[in-house]
Amino acid sequence: MWEQIRSNQIRSAVLVTLMALILLLVGFFIGLALGSPIAGLIIAFIIWGIMTLVAFFQGDSILLSVSGAKKTSRADNPQLYNVVEEMKIASGLEKMPDVYIIDDPALNAFATGRDPNHAAVAITSGLLQKLNRDELQGVIGHEISHIKNRDVRLMSLLAVLLGAIVILANYAWMFAFLGGMNASGTNTNKRRSSRGGGGTGIVQIFVVVIALILAILAPILAQLIYFAVSRKREYLADASSALYTRYPEGLASALEKLSTSTTQVKAANKATAPMYIINPFRKKGMSMSDLTSTHPPTAERIRILRAMGGGASLADYERAYKQTKGKGGIIPPSALAGEPTATQSRRASTYRVVATG
């Protein structure tokens, strides 16, 4: 269990670095095209810095208040609170997350929090009514694993980077256009350039072209990375939920109930979508498996969970994933390294006291 968490942290760091490099690359080339690569880098940094600060201080409270979530306690909702506590124990979280209820007939749940010690789980009243205990446990387990794997922080960081790349790329168009027009208009236009002598004209055009290509490609690439990461983390959260609950059928059955409902959650937006358990923007008939979806198709998630046989470990999920998708794997080998492989799933709970020891 701990190997998987550590492996996720390393992967998150790598992803953030990768996106940051793309951002800096765009900034550099734009700066180069306009005559000062350093200025380009600095501007990229500044945009990134401002957006990070905004995202950091915005944090959880805005998301929670925008969705109309109300904090609940053990006395108000004992069953929900107990389920969250069980999942907190099973995931190894140190501190119990805050529990919120959203008064909304739509069926959804999300997790938020910049680190595991400042985390919150929210669920709609509609969903709370519809699920039985095993299903509720599966959903909460999924959300708690987002907290444990620090997916919330990862997705916010990536969202900020993506935003910065898009902004920079936008301005790149403007500047390149203006810069290009200037160059063709007058020959006396002096540009500070570290290259001396002849041949600068061709090189300059070359750099502008690269900058423009980057300006087009970088946002697309960043988006693809962002959505691919989001989908991958969803699979991982499903796998972790099965491990914590030792009952993958619970989550599978909950997802089934979720997918047949089409009521939209009122307050979701594209930035917060990855943190919901199911895509809040799905509409009947719309394909959900496209590259700009934050969540994998629900039918596929259910199929994988149900293909796990009698097992509940990460290795079982990996096997079920390969079986269902016919290719690749979703859990990196480093995460599977120290994990138990022969974990049995339990039977459905019967809500009576049956001493299990």
Partner: protein, 186 residues
């Protein structure tokens, strides 16, 4: 001269390897200790709930004294064994679990008791505690697996034996009923 540098480099690399390996083992061992403490909390909660349960049930006339006494005895034994090693505790807690099962089976014959509010509340709390014992047991056993793997697998076993790390015990609870062969009657 070069040979000296190479030997020095090898020594430094070995030290770094030992450093990293030792810290990883310490971290795992502490995680095991923490996971065990979590189980302890839940087991204590279970022990604390039982006297109330016994009192609620005792008020009902003709309730089998022997069943109640068995539960009390098992609970006292389990509480006394609170500082024993995991294998011992697993046995004691399993016995307590078995006694509780039998108690609940007897309760089935008392419809008044089954409808009693205090009894229902206690039953629910016991059920919740059982779930949490399950969850914390999972975490403990998974963590122990991780620690034991690191202690026994190459090359971290070298560091482990030098530093004196011992493999931890799994917490496997079986109720006596599970051990009896299943009787099939037609």
């Amino acid at each position: 001269m070069l040979a000296l540098w190479i030997i020095l480099a090898i020594i430094v690399i070995l030290l770094l390897f030992f450093w990293g390996g030792y810290n990883a083992l310490v971290k795992l061992r502490n995680q095991v200790k923490n996971a065990w403490a979590q189980i302890d909390v839940q087991l204590n909660r279970r022990h604390d709930l039982i006297p109330n349960l016994i009192e609620t049930v005792r008020g009902y006339k003709d309730f089998e004294r022997s069943t109640l006494e068995a539960v009390t005895a098992a609970r006292n034994q389990a509480q006394a064994g609170a500082s024993a090693n995991p294998a011992e505790r697993a046995k004691l807690e399993g016995a307590l679990g078995g006694a509780l099962s039998r108690l609940m089976a007897v309760v089935e014959a008392y419809p008044d008791l089954k409808a009693n509010q205090s009894f229902l509340a206690l039953q629910t709390q016991l059920a919740e505690t059982e779930n949490k014992i399950s969850s914390s047991r999972q975490v403990y056993n998974d963590t122990v697996l991780g620690l034991n793997n690191k202690i026994q697998m190459f090359p971290s076993n070298i560091v482990a034996s030098i530093a004196g790390f011992k493999a931890a015990e799994l917490f496997k609870v079986e109720t006596p009923e599970e051990k009896e062969p299943v009787q099939v009657k037609f």
